[in-house]
Amino acid sequence: MSDDFVFSRHNLKGREKFLQRVFEILPGAVSWTILIGLLFTAFWKPILAAILIIAFDFYWLLRLFYATLFLVLAYLRLSFESDTDWMKRVHGLDDLDNYSREVAGASSDFSPGKWVSMMAHKKELQVLKETGALPPLSKNIYHLVIFPVLKEPLEILEPGIRGLTRGSFPSSQVLVILAVEERAKDQVKQGAEAVRQKYAGSFLDFLVTLHPDGIPGEARVKGSNVSYAAKQAAGYFQAKGIPFDNVIVSCFDADTVVRPDYLACLTYRFMSCSDRQQSSFQPIPVYHNNIWEATGFARVLEMGSSFFQLVESTNPDTLVTFSSHSMSFKALVDVGFWPVDMISDDSAIFWKCFLHFHGNYHVVPMYTTISMDVVTAKNWLKTVRNVYKQKRRWAWGVENFPIVIRGFLQSRRISLYDKIKHGFKLFEGHVAWATWAILLTVIGWFPAVYAGREFSDTVVYYSAPRITAIIFNLATLALLTTLVLSQCLLPRRRVRHIFFKRIILALEWFFVPFIVTFLSALPALEAQTRLLLGKYMEFWVTDKQRKRKR
């Protein structure tokens, strides 16, 4: 790939413009072809349709079992690491040789969870020693934490900032920036300033940046705001003489609340990663801030997102950054910050780095959680609309596909295997997102419901529902596992009527086929259709509301 590859769909010419358009059309076209194709097959060749549906259902069942298996393993790993003293490990890495000996000689009277955690830790130390990529001392490592703000009030912002002060990592090594849009209301700006004044003394520094509107080449997206803030931070670090190599940047949503051990865990992951300057660090997002106040379907969907990330965390080979995440500040500066004209900045930054570093860029899973808000609104209908819009925005991550594939076509240094592996996963992921739920809950039943005489006289007409029923019954095992894990993952806060609330949450999972069809697959299909038609999306900020504490 030529080094002048621009990670953007704008200002393209000739072949690049043509390829961009072709790859924009491809995901939507394939999704629609699958849906319409199967619909027509159900009418014209119902036997063939029934066979295809059985083959698909079976494939889906195995994928579901596969995902559930790794969901359980990932959850176990997350719970095993919940008591880990990350700062102890961070300090240990400061003196690697002695620490390695200490760890190697540690007694083995641990619980199974601690044993797994320790084994993984030992392996990480071993790899670090073998590669010789020794980390900087922890006292020289700085964190930059950016919270983008557009319309989030004080009560949304403050818990996240407060959470940072409670961490085990010294907050004197943390620079916090509230990246406020210039177009934000005065009330929001005043709120940000109030937070800054309240917490300025708790950190290395606390900045509030005002991102001007209408900078040439920028769209009104989150990426342009946080990039502006990161550039300000770069100047700050330069002025302070802090090398970028020693800075880890975390780009959070405004409602993100981290666990107290988050920065310590992140520091450890950064230090223990031999390729730390070309890595991102992905925590497990959970949506607990307002989980008991949120609407049922929104809760189920957000839990589904958490589970998806848990499953993904078991496959660092193809892991892509999502939502709130952290990364090497040096890498961020090297690639020219976040894309300033894309909505899906969270995943786009990974692909931008991946292409920039010729495939030598990775995401390191972090078995710690960050908590965000479940989308909610004043009433049920508005919540449906907001959830739909949020999922459509997430699904708009498909905008990465044409750019990434163009990048792959230009790159000669990324291996063909990596191109196929990442390209296929990106493509298949989006097509599956838009089609699977619709196939399972709607189109899969068409051959039987609209069966003509030709089909209703066949054995397959009677066998297919039986096989489908068996498959769906088996799938219930996965659902039950998910249901149990959803209960385990819930915050352990004291809440009134918690028993009944937990029962309701469990029952909500049985509506998952409808929820996923209407509030996940449909928005994804709309996003792909928009890209197909060239009707590009604008950034839309989801409403986040919490009950004020009295």
């Binding site: 036997i47 029934a50 066979i51 059985i54 083959a55 079976f58 494939y59 195995l62 079992f65 596969y66 298996l69 790794f70 393993l73 790993r77 078991t314 496959n315 660092p316 080979d317 039943w445 039987a448 419901v449 069966a451 003509g452 005489r453 209703s456 006289d457 066949t458 054995v459 397959v460 007409y461 009677y462 066998s463 297919a464 529902p465 039986r466 096989i467």
Partner: protein, 487 residues
């Protein structure tokens, strides 16, 4: 974790590659058979659903483990003697063919009890039962006077007199009775001293309204037609002309249409067969809307030069014509279906077929379009006779979603199962009072009749509605193979 992912990936891949083709083959009807014919063999199945459910199924006198509804799977192609039995019901037996990869569906087997559940609904005897097709009421008569008429609400199974004792309108002799399907009103022509009078009766939940509308009928009509619930637009058909009657306004427009040989109504349109044998559609204000038959030569060859026809518009595009001699025609090839003797018909809309009966025969006229074939001569619907051993068939009804026919042959009521793979099963059910009608309501599954001995109103359950299980999607399809071939 990565290693584990790889191991499970290949494990699941192997499972998929092996199990998925096997599952699909099984779905198609292939099984792995041990023994002399070992290897993959094609099979078929038989699906059996009965009312009532829970019947035992026997193949070759060997009892199948499951009760109905049941699917008998993995059957090698061939004929299977199937017997289905349920305690207190007559057994069902037939040789059922099974083809490879095919399903033979016996979806609507209706068991007939060994002892019918009869219920007497009235203590007093009646002379006649007068049905009103598709209505929630029928009439009962103890004599020939209007005052001898009773209304039966069969949904509530309540009987009440049409007139209070001493009501002057109840005097005279009923000469004619006019009603339309689904209506809650009817017209009576009554002979009284000094002439004739016309009574318009509107039946309600609690009481009936009877009005003398003689002023609307200056002459005795041959037929009176109207759309149910529209009493402002009645059309009395006379020899060669039609009067328009407004019951509510007590007015009549004489000779509203002239030179007319038949008239039918449908969705506020008049279908008029003109004297020149052309068929025209008009609105109620006589404004022409469409010429439906514009070929005079074809018209006269179909309808002849004279004679009155009843016109029944069954659907937007299916029209039946019943002539005075019992000719039966339709606007579908080959147009003329019966030359004479048609006594009645009943149309089953969702399956687009009509039950037609003559004195000795019962037939089915299927209007659903057949699959396209290679023949260059277009084939229209055919009248397929399903029963030809009648003595004096006077009434017939569709039962159980068109799978059975209930008919009255003189005073004998029988049930004919028509969706079968062999000879249709015929069950003789009961004897009823002679020279009067019966009434069957599919929604309750009951037959209402006057008992042959006591002459009291009685009912018998033909189709136990509470026993019909909610249909699964596999059962919803109405077009099944098990229909009589050729329909």
């Amino acid at each position: 974790m990565l290693l584990l992912r790889r191991i499970f990936f290949y494990l699941f891949l192997a499972i998929y590659l092996i199990a998925c083709p096997m599952t699909i083959l099984y779905a198609l009807g292939y099984i792995l058979k041990p023994g002399t014919e070992k290897g993959l063999v094609k099979t078929g199945l038989i699906y059996i659903s009965t009312v009532p459910s829970g019947a035992s199924v026997y193949i070759d006198n060997k009892r199948y483990t499951r009760r109905t509804p049941a699917i008998l799977r993995d059957l090698l192609p061939g004929n299977y003697p199937i017997r289905i039995s349920l305690k207190n019901y007559r057994s069902w037996f037939q040789n059922i063919p099974v083809e490879a990869e095919k399903a033979t569906a016996l979806e609507k087997i209706l068991f007939v009890p060994t002892e019918l559940k009869r219920e007497q609904l009235s203590p007093e005897p009646f002379e006649r039962l007068i049905p009103i097709e598709k209505s929630r009421y029928f009439l009962l008569a103890t004599g020939s006077r209007p005052g001898d008429l009773f209304i039966c609400d069969w949904k509530q199974e309540k009987i009440r007199p049409l007139f209070q004792k001493g009501d002057p309108l109840g005097e005279g002799n009923v000469l004619s009775f006019y009603s339309v399907p689904g209506g809650v009103s009817f017209l009576l022509l009554v002979h009284v001293r000094g002439g004739e009078k016309y009574l318009w009766v509107e039946m309600g939940d609690k009481e009936c309204r009877v009005e003398d509308v003689s002023v609307c009928f200056p002459e005795e009509p041959l037929q009176v037609v109207w759309e149910s619930h529209d009493k402002n637009h009645l059309f009395s058909i006379h020899d060669n002309y039609v009067n328009r009657v407004d019951i509510a306004g007590r007015s009549v427009v004489p000779r509203y249409l002239e030179n007319i040989r038949g008239l039918g109504l449908f969705h506020k349109s008049i279908y008029a067969l003109r004297g020149d044998s052309l068929l025209e559609r008009l609105d109620y204000d006589r404004k022409p809307k469409e010429m439906l038959l514009n070929d005079a030569a074809l018209g006269s060859s179909l309808f002849g030069a004279k004679g009155l026809f009843q016109i029944h518009v069954l659907d937007n595009d299916i029209i039946l014509f019943q002539g005075a001699r019992g000719e039966l025609l339709a606007n579908r090839l080959p147009y003329r279906f019966l030359e004479e003797g048609t006594i009645g018909y009943e149309y089953y809309a969702s399956r687009e077929r009509a039950l037609v009966w003559r004195k000795e025969d019962i037939g089915i006229l299927a209007f659903s379009k057949p699959a396209k074939n290679e023949e260059i001569f277009e084939k229209g619907p055919r009248l397929h006779w399903v029963y030809q051993r009648g003595q004096k068939i006077e009434q017939a009804f569709w039962v159980y979603e068109g799978s059975h026919i209930l008919f009255r042959d003189e005073n004998r009521v029988s049930l004919l199962e028509i969706e079968t793979h062999g000879k249709p099963h015929l069950y003789s059910l009961l004897k009823v009072k002679r020279k009067t009608d019966v009434f069957y309501a599919e929604s309750t599954g009951k037959l209402y009749y006057l008992d042959s001995e006591s002459e009291c109103l009685s009912s018998v359950e033909i189709l136990p509605r509470q026993e019909i299980l909610p249909l699964t999607f596999t059962e919803k399809n109405e077009k099944k193979k098990s229909e009589i071939e050729g329909l």
